[in-house]
């Protein structure tokens, strides 16, 4: 018998009234697998993550299937979901500054999770919490455990958040831009820690970011989202070396590298023309067509599905030249 996947998402739609931020997303993340989810702000990445956790803001609704550990999370009650959150599926959020309870000591906040899910006593939970803090490379863990969030640094807070997320050896960890709020010098350390700690526990990782090199370094597969849909999906190496969707191509081209940032101002940094369409005014057909260099009449009328080549595009990169030849 094969190990069931960490999560299997089928045709997930997330919306507020009749506006859908996520429109029919499907993917499978195998046990211990690592997937990156990229896209611009407003592409539906974070809403997808919150739907998996069952933590959508008031008024938002998810439809479709999110299969995890034998249940469809979309149809479960808050009570059932809460017994899983932090135990089999957990999440690291973007802003560690505001994500910890300001009136509770950080050691207690980690211990609370262990105490809640593992049924151990408070003293034992606290011992395990300090242990976790050691694993998170936090300095003077015994003393730090007695600190309040306002007394420790942003990087330390995010390590505490990661410790809380990992405390119960979850099958899946969702990290939603876990380092955007941190200093550049701290970002790499935190990512390295997240990478190593999830691998040690064989937890699957869903990494949400717009930092493509991070995905390249940490993930096996990548899904590119645009306007609520996955427009390209595949192994990281394939997608990044040989993008098939014009949007992915644009994203890759607009990444700054030492080569394409010219200090004399004659920057060769490319940007994708136009901007992400608002949900109220999504273009018909392929949502990317107004910004796409290869768009044709077909792109404006018919919505492409994800093809076997991994891209949802009528005229994938590479194939265009074939047509023209």
């Amino acid at each position: 018998m094969t190990t069931p996947p960490a999560i299997e998402v089928k045709n997930l739609t997330v919306g507020y009234e009749d506006l859908n931020a996520v429109r029919g997303v499907s993917f499978t993340l195998p046990a211990g697998g690592r997937m990156g989810l990229v896209g611009e702000s407003g592409s539906g990445k974070s809403m997808t993550a919150l739907a998996l956790m069952g933590l959508l803001p008031a008024g938002w609704q998810a439809h479709g299937e999110v299969l995890h550990d034998g249940v469809n999370l979309v149809s479960q009650s808050d009570r059932v979901l809460s017994s899983r959150r932090g135990r089999t599926i957990s999440m690291v959020f973007q802003d560690p500054m505001s994500s910890l309870n300001p009136v509770r000591r950080v050691g207690d906040q980690i211990a609370d999770v262990i105490h809640r899910h593992n049924g151990v006593g408070r003293r034992e939970a606290m011992r395990q919490a300090v242990d976790l803090m050691v694993q998170m490379n936090l300095p003077r863990p015994e003393q730090l455990a007695r600190s309040y969030p306002h007394q420790i640094s942003g990087g330390q807070k995010q390590r505490i958040m990661i410790a809380m997320a990992l405390a119960c050896y979850p099958q899946l960890i969702i990290a939603d831009e876990p380092t955007t709020a941190l200093d550049v010098t701290v970002q790499k350390q935190v990512l390295r820690l997240l990478n190593a700690a999830t691998r040690e526990r064989n937890s699957a990782l869903l990494m949400i970011t717009h930092d493509l090199p991070v995905i390249a370094a940490m993930c096996d597969t990548v899904a590119v989202m645009y306007a609520g849909r996955i427009v390209e999906y595949g192994p990281v190496q394939d997608v990044f070396r040989n993008p098939r969707h014009h949007y992915t191509r644009g994203l890759l081209d607009s990444q700054p590298t030492m080569d394409n940032i010219a200090l004399d101002g004659s920057s060769r940094l490319v940007s994708i023309p136009g901007m992400v369409p608002p949900l109220q005014r999504l273009p018909s057909g392929c949502a990317f067509n107004p910004r796409c260099p290869a768009a044709t009449e077909k792109c404006r009328t018919e919505m492409p599905e994800l093809a076997p080549n991994g891209a949802a595009c009528w005229h994938p990169v590479g194939a265009v030249q074939v047509v023209e030849a």
Binding site: S90, F93, D95, S98, S99, N101, P102, V113, H117, H150
Partner: protein, 315 residues
Amino acid sequence: MPVYIARKLAFFLLAVLVASIAIFLLIRGAGGNVAAVILGKDATAEAINALAQQYGLDRPLFVQYFDWIGNLLQGDLGRSFRTNEPVTDLVVSRLSISIPLCVSGLILGLVIAIPAGTYSALNSDKPLGAVIALLSQVGIAVPVFWAGILLSLLFGVRLGWLPTGGWTNWDVSLWGAVRSLVLPVISLGLILGASLTRYVRSAVLDVMNQDYVRTARATGMTRMQALLQVGLRNAALPIATVVGLQIAELIGGTVIIETVFSLPGLSRMILANVAAREVIVVQSTVMLIIIFVMFINLIVDLLYGVLDPRVRLAR
């Protein structure tokens, strides 16, 4: 924490000192010749001088001030000019009405506001949530005396369940005293509760949208647990501040309510003594009330330190 307590305590003492000087100057300084005021406009100059001498009113103001404040610190609030009764005796029996009225009104206000405000914050889309928000608005608009009169009409006159006014002293009948206080306390509590409901509602709304509540739920708390264990604990900070500010208003409300329900409380005593030009009585009792308000605010400040580590641990 000791540093925090010491700082708050020092501030409290300083504020009391400043308030005492202000009260003294306002009543003595602004009133002209106190002896003349007491005796009225038909008094002879000799009578005025005699009275001034008798009570030491002819001494320099700062001597009188230190005399008053020194006695105050020893629990001697001075004596009534007319009856020569010690003010302390007058006040103690009044406080046995005013303090229970005030404290019970505050507790009732909180007992109403915390669940009502929390419910309406979490269920603003449901009919009951909207009804609570509406009632709270109405309650803020209704003057406390009108609430008192309506309640007295309904429960006192129409239904006859409770006295419409008057006072049965504690030592005469415990039950009677409680019965006399029920309607006044409800009037105060309802009106205070209405305005507190709005603050509780906005505090809970704000807190429940914070990232740390989402974290609490992401690590396995149900919505209800996150509310009770994380949300209300954090919402307690702004609520404590508002309660401290509302104390002064509550005292204002008791003046009115004691009048509406003919309760011989401290506030009515002050009003009567203002009319009777009992300068010392007014001065000392107003000072007592100010100390009481400041003391409650000191308690709120200290509570704030207990509730919020950021305040407690700040230098």
